[in-house]
């Protein structure tokens, strides 16, 4: 058996009660530990829906998501929250930083959600990650006092803070110029290789997708293409 860190089994998602929109059709998909995956597909095909279901932020209408070999179907909200905190890192198209906090504090946030207080060691770690994404100069800036690229890199640093096994990214560079985009993907690759973190990234950028180990294309809620290099 393949060792899947994430497995999607027969997942369907139907929106709406009277007018039903079927966003996903009985999808089956597994992602290997330490793999670097790209999900592509045209707008409205169901990519974000899939990623949010994998991230346990949304529940499938049918089917189940298995993370680390454990089904999430019957987990309570609190249990799911703990799972997200420990195992998953999110990067969205919009950064969703807390504007009331500095870059450093934002990066520490997932740690504090788990442990309450940020000890010396976690602070050191947060600083290292900020160095990694090249933000050591602005670590004490409020989230609002940074450029778009810096904000997005802070959000990436935040996703790395709890050393998650899986990073889920939904068009993480959608709002950035091509140079910044390149440096962010290089960063993702580096983390993937050094820490063995699994990446599942939605992207519109063919160039970016081609650098992944595997490309999954979604069309109208179904897998239309699955290329493993």
């Amino acid at each position: 058996m393949d060792n899947f860190v994430v497995e999607v089994k027969g997942v369907s998602k139907v929106y709406g009660k009277t007018i039903k929109t079927v966003a996903l059709h009985e999808l089956n998909l597994g992602f290997k530990t330490g793999s670097f995956n790209a999900i592509i597909g045209e707008s409205g095909s169901g990519k974000s829906t899939l990623l949010n279901i994998i991230g346990t932020l949304d529940r499938p209408t049918k089917g189940e998501v298995i993370i680390n070999g454990v089904s999430t179907r019957n987990m309570s909200k609190g249990r799911l929250a703990d799972l997200r905190n420990e195992t998953l890192g999110f990067v969205f198209q919009f950064h969703y930083l807390l504007p009331e906090f500095t870059a450093m504090e934002n990066v520490l946030m997932p740690y504090r959600v788990a442990h309450g207080k940020a000890d010396k060691e976690s602070q050191k770690r947060a600083r290292e990650i900020l160095n990694l994404v090249g933000l050591e100069k602005v670590e004490n800036n409020l989230a609002t006092n940074m450029s778009g690229g810096q904000q997005q890199r802070t959000a990436i640093a935040r996703a790395l803070m709890n050393q998650p096994k899986i990073i889920l990214a939904d068009e993480p560079t959608g709002n950035l110029d091509s140079q910044t985009t390149d440096s962010i993907y290089q960063l993702f690759r580096k983390i993937n290789q050094e820490l063995g973190t699994t990446f599942i990234i939605i992207t519109h950028d063919r160039r970016v997708a081609e650098k992944a180990d595997r490309i999954v294309e979604i069309l109208d809620g179904r897998i239309s293409l699955d290329i493993v290099k």
Binding site: L57, A81, F90, Q93, L98, M109, P110, K117
Partner: protein
């Protein structure tokens, strides 16, 4: 806990204008409560003090008019034993009406005799003596300031009095007193027990035993204790509360209306906080959504808002206490009687202030409950979908 508290604090700090506004709202509510509360309490205290502060609060007298209490000292011991913690300033009074005759007119007065030292407790007679000295010898009397003016009597003058039974006597005026109640100043003549007993022909008997209590508002209960202890059908025990029912019902009406005002102030404070915090939930929904996506549990997210309510309550209460005390103080200082004394004395009841502040803090926290519940229902998906 710590994280929820830190986030709450940061949220409040980041929207300073809004925070200051709510804090002011709570503070004004608290200060109005404290101001009205201390005004009413101060007013009632001074009113009660004026009414019964220098008067007997419980009186033991014979049931039948014209009877006397024969062994006053023994009765005083029994009375004191009825409630030693409350009863104070016991004094045996021998009194009776008499007609005072001067060359041009005659008036009816009440001659009251007691041991000067015993009477000091209730009547503070030594302090109320405006001129001369207390008559300690036989047939020496002190008279009221107003009476002396009305009759044009001076110290060292001799007065002639006639009892209802027709007995006459001559008395030497040794001083004037001012009890600050005109009717008493016009009608009382005070003397020592011996003089009164001889002139009024009571033998060793006294007319009544008067006393005060430490807490004037329990005078009725203490009076019951005394009655039980004495267990004597021929004696009747009265207290100031039954004789001042109108005053007391006025006071309780005042207290009730002040409670009403305070209740409505509280409601408006709670509504204010709840609505502002409800708005702030909408404002902060992105933050809450992402915190939940990160794995923050629902109760913790709610706690952020409860802490905000709590912090606002504490801040508001402290500012409110300062404002309220300032307000009460200015009122006491600025609103004065013609003679410069304050109309309502400045009075700080820390217990009451503590209760007001405590209620404000609890109410603010409870007001945050509705927004807190909304927060726990917020689905991170909504935020992430809608950007």
């Amino acid at each position: 806990m710590k994280l929820a508290f830190d986030i709450a604090l940061r949220f409040l700090k980041s929207s300073k204008g809004q925070t200051i506004l709510i804090v002011l709202g709570i503070a004004i509510g608290v200060s109005v409560q404290i101001f009205i509360g201390s005004l009413i309490t101060g007013l009632q205290k001074s009113l009660v003090d004026k009414t019964v502060g220098s008067a007997p609060q419980i009186t033991v007298a014979p049931q039948e008019d014209g009877d006397f209490i024969l062994d006053a000292q023994a009765e005083i011991k029994t009375i004191k034993a009825a409630n030693p913690a409350e009863i104070k300033s016991l004094v045996a009074v021998t009194q009776g009406p008499a007609i005072l005759k001067t060359p041009d007119q005659s008036t009816t007065i009440i001659l009251r005799g007691f041991e000067w030292d015993d009477a000091q407790g209730i009547y503070k007679i030594a302090d109320r003596l405006v001129k001369g000295n207390l008559g300690t010898n036989k047939n020496e009397v002190v008279i009221g300031k107003d009476l002396s003016e009305n009759l044009n009597v001076k110290i060292d003058d001799t007065l002639e009095m006639i009892t209802p039974t027709g007995k006459t006597g001559e008395f030497l005026v040794t001083g004037y007193f001012d009890l600050q109640v005109k009717s008493l100043n016009e009608s009382w003549i005070l003397t020592n027990t011996d003089t009164a007993q001889t002139f009024l022909e009571t033998g060793d008997g006294v007319s009544q035993i008067e006393m005060q209590v430490n807490d004037v508002f329990v005078a009725d209960e203490v009076a019951m204790d005394v009655e039980k202890r004495l267990n004597d059908e021929t004696l009747i025990v009265t207290n100031w509360k039954e004789e001042n029912a109108a005053l007391l019902s006025g006071l309780s009406g005042q207290t009730a209306s002040s409670l009403m005002i305070q209740f409505f102030v509280l409601i408006s404070v709670v509504l204010g906080i709840a609505s502002v915090l409800a708005i702030s939930v909408v404002q902060k929904s992105r933050q809450i959504g992402i915190l939940k996506a990160m794995g923050m549990q629902n109760p913790k997210a709610s706690l952020v808002f409860l802490f905000q309510g709590f912090l606002l309550g504490i801040l508001g209460a402290f500012v409110g206490i300062a404002l309220g005390i300032g307000l009460s103080w200015s009122f006491a200082t600025l609103v004065t009687n013609p003679d410069g004394t304050s109309l309502v004395p400045f009075y700080i009841d820390w217990f009451f202030i503590g209760i007001s502040a405590g209620i404000a803090i609890i109410a603010s926290t409870l007001a945050a409950l509705i927004p807190a519940i909304r927060v726990s229902k917020l689905d991170p998906m909504e935020v992430i979908k809608n950007g």
